[in-house]
């Protein structure tokens, strides 16, 4: 046994030595099986430049843990996938990411469709660019057309939800809620509900969608730079969610639903409307897996103060400072930004290309145009270094409101207090 162990160890050491010239690339699963997505790109890149790239998939839940551990041990990868909410702590606490300003050519800068986004990344990080996006996505809503028809929701509502020139409000949602949340087959039980709020903790965005919709601060900070949680928008969002819950328009147990569970509620026909659908769900997984699901994508609603928002996320790549293959890593990013690579990624993932290079057929696809349409008012994930704790704080307080433990006022007040306390560590 010992000999075998030694053998395995030796083989590993040799393998490690042999791979020394390989760019280590850590990806998060933004599509299922990302290694399959990147495979042809890696081959092409190798043929072009002779550089090997090895992909390691690290789950969203544990990505930060692993990146930290690797950097602390001096074994950081050469290229790592991050999100808006995740790169700042790495810069702030360990100065662990390479500045990219010197590497980005003006040609690439000119091709980026949303240059203001790069400015945002610079602004939060003291004027320097540490991450570069390769694609991005927005959220849309979706409705279950069958339920809408069964409940007799007038066409007027569906028009309001799907026509870019019209809009629907929170009040409209309440009206629809009343129509769809019913016992249709007469067995004494409600058959479907309006909306399942994914109260589960492991997800960033469900609360923010409502908070921004009610006029909350995009960066979660007020003009003095302190957290903006004990504000009207928080209370309005809480009150509306609570109304949905109290009127019974939400299925039981929402405060403990994970994001996946909430999507499962929609795709299995238990809820009629959902407000956070990635392109990879609605355009890839659903048409394949739920052939009976008759759904339509809809725009986000308009909040009480006429705010219309949705979430915007990017697939950001950063190069750790420790990497010995920074040039190679950057050349791979450049390769991913080439029009053909961008087209390929878009065609497989349905995410939007950062350079605007999409397959031809996408340009006439109304669903994709709808996703592109909401970019105008989509807000990226806040980038404050304390986001990891803030995320737990606001999700937990939302759960406290939904489970009736706290009033919206109390919860908003607690959120503010805890968020400020957490800042103690991020001075």
């Amino acid at each position: 046994m010992f000999k075998r162990c030694l053998l395995v160890f030796l083989v590993l050491v040799i393998a490690c030595l042999g791979l020394a010239k390989t760019v280590q690339f850590w990806v998060t699963p933004f599509v299922s099986q990302p290694e399959k997505l990147f495979e042809p790109l890696l081959e092409e890149f190798k043929a072009e430049t002779g550089i090997d790239v090895e992909i390691s998939v690290i789950s969203y839940a544990d990505a930060v843990t692993k990146i930290q551990a690797a950097i602390a041990a001096g074994e950081a990868p050469d290229l790592v996938a991050l999100s808006e909410g995740r790169f700042m702590p790495l810069v702030r606490f360990g100065n662990a990411l390479e500045e990219l300003d010197g590497l980005v050519s003006s040609d690439i800068m000119n091709r980026v469709v949303r240059p203001q986004l790069l400015d945002q990344y610079r602004q939060i990080a003291g004027g320097k660019l540490y991450v570069f996006p390769i694609c991005f996505w927005t959220y849309l809503g979706a409705i279950n057309v069958d339920i809408f028809e069964k409940a007799g929701v007038p066409q007027e509502f569906i028009d309001k939800m799907t026509d870019p020139n019209k809009y629907y409000t929170w009040d409209d949602l309440l009206k629809i809620g009343e129509m769809v949340t019913k016992d249709f087959d007469g067995n004494g039980k409600i058959d479907h509900w309006l909306y399942a709020y994914p109260g589960g903790e492991n997800w960033v965005h469900p609360f923010l969608l409502w908070y921004w919709n009610a006029g909350g601060s995009p960066s979660l900070l007020d003009e003095n730079g302190s957290p903006a949680f004990n504000i009207e928008a928080t209370k309005k969002a809480f009150e509306f969610l609570l109304t949905l819950k109290e009127k019974g328009y939400m299925p039981p147990g929402v405060e403990s639903l994970s994001a996946g569970d909430a999507i499962d509620m929609f795709t299995s026909g238990k809820t009629a409307w959902i407000n956070n659908v990635w392109p990879s769900n609605s355009l890839v997984v659903w048409p394949q897996q739920f052939k009976d699901l008759n759904f339509r994508l809809v725009y986000p609603p308009v909040g009480p103060d006429n705010h219309r928002t949705t979430y915007f996320g990017s697939y950001l790549l950063g190069i750790p400072r420790q990497s010995k293959l920074k040039k190679e890593a950057w050349s791979f990013i450049e390769f991913l930004l080439k029009p053909e690579s961008q087209k390929y990624i878009a065609s497989k993932t349905y995410y939007s290309s950062i350079t605007g290079d999409m397959p031809e057929e996408f340009k006439s696809d109304p669903r994709i145009n709808m996703y592109m349409d909401v970019v105008k008012y989509a807000i990226p994930e806040p980038m404050h270094p304390a986001m990891a704790r803030w995320k737990i704080i606001y999700n937990s307080e939302t759960q406290a409101v939904l489970s009736g433990q706290k009033t919206p006022e109390q919860a908003a007040e607690t959120m503010q207090r805890l968020a400020e306390q957490a800042l103690e560590f991020y001075k």
């Binding site: 843990t65 606490f93 662990a96 903790e201 147990g253 405060e255 403990s256 569970d261 937990s396 489970s403």
Partner: protein, 305 residues
Amino acid sequence: MLERVSSIPFAKSMSRTSKLMKGFRRYKLDLFLALPGVLLLFTFYVAPVVAVFFASFTRWPIIGDPRWVGLQNYRLLMTDEIFLKSLLNTLYYAALIVPSLTIFSFIMALILRSITKGREFFKAIFVFPMVVTLVSTATIWKGMFLPFGPINAILEFFGLQPIQFLSTEHVKNTLSFVLIWRDVGYFAIFYLAGLEQIPEEIIDASRVDGANAFQRFTKIIWPTMRPIVLLVSVLATIGSFMIFTLVYVTTRGGPAYASEALLNYIYDVGWKEFRMGYAAAAAVIYFVILFLLNSFQRLVFGREK
């Protein structure tokens, strides 16, 4: 000067060395046998614990340098609502799991004892959940507890109201149940072994002597079982404090911190929020509390003089 320093202590150290040599010869085998275990334990348990202790006095984002802050972490912990909440949760888990496991596994041992046919079969079934990877168990139970999941379907089938197992009010009990469900059979086997040491004849004889059930318990059963009760309660306490994977896979500490256990908070703070020094301080407190609890158990159930 040089001479004095080198000569006299040298003679002394000679005698000490020879004593050591003698001792070494005497204990050669023991030292050799103990070495691998001691080496491994010190490298992978003691040293990291010492390191954590020192880290608890620093502010340390793992990717940056630690900075000495004295007792500041401990001071902040005392007013950290979420830390206190998770500490209370952990104690709640222990308060629920430890007595339940101690008692139910005893009852289960009694059941197994009175079964004659198929005892081995039932034993194997009862120990089974212990063998299954906890990540798998947690994942499966998470599905079972979904709002419209199989358990609620069964409840509805019997005309009962569905229950939100992972809601703020029930979540701690639910997760405790899973842990009890997993371990109860394992500990029952411990008790069964003890029970099998008490011959039926003694119990029958005591019946004849007119001893009532209470006397039988205090005079015959308890003395035999006490060490096993101690073992089970100590292991159950350690197990309930280490409820991490279950929470991590099912609820991530939610809703509203209702299921957050101390270890989950420590993990989140240290690894997700770049506050390893703070997490280390929380870990020191975790360790002290667990140690005190176990010492208390030893005092209560331990050997009587």
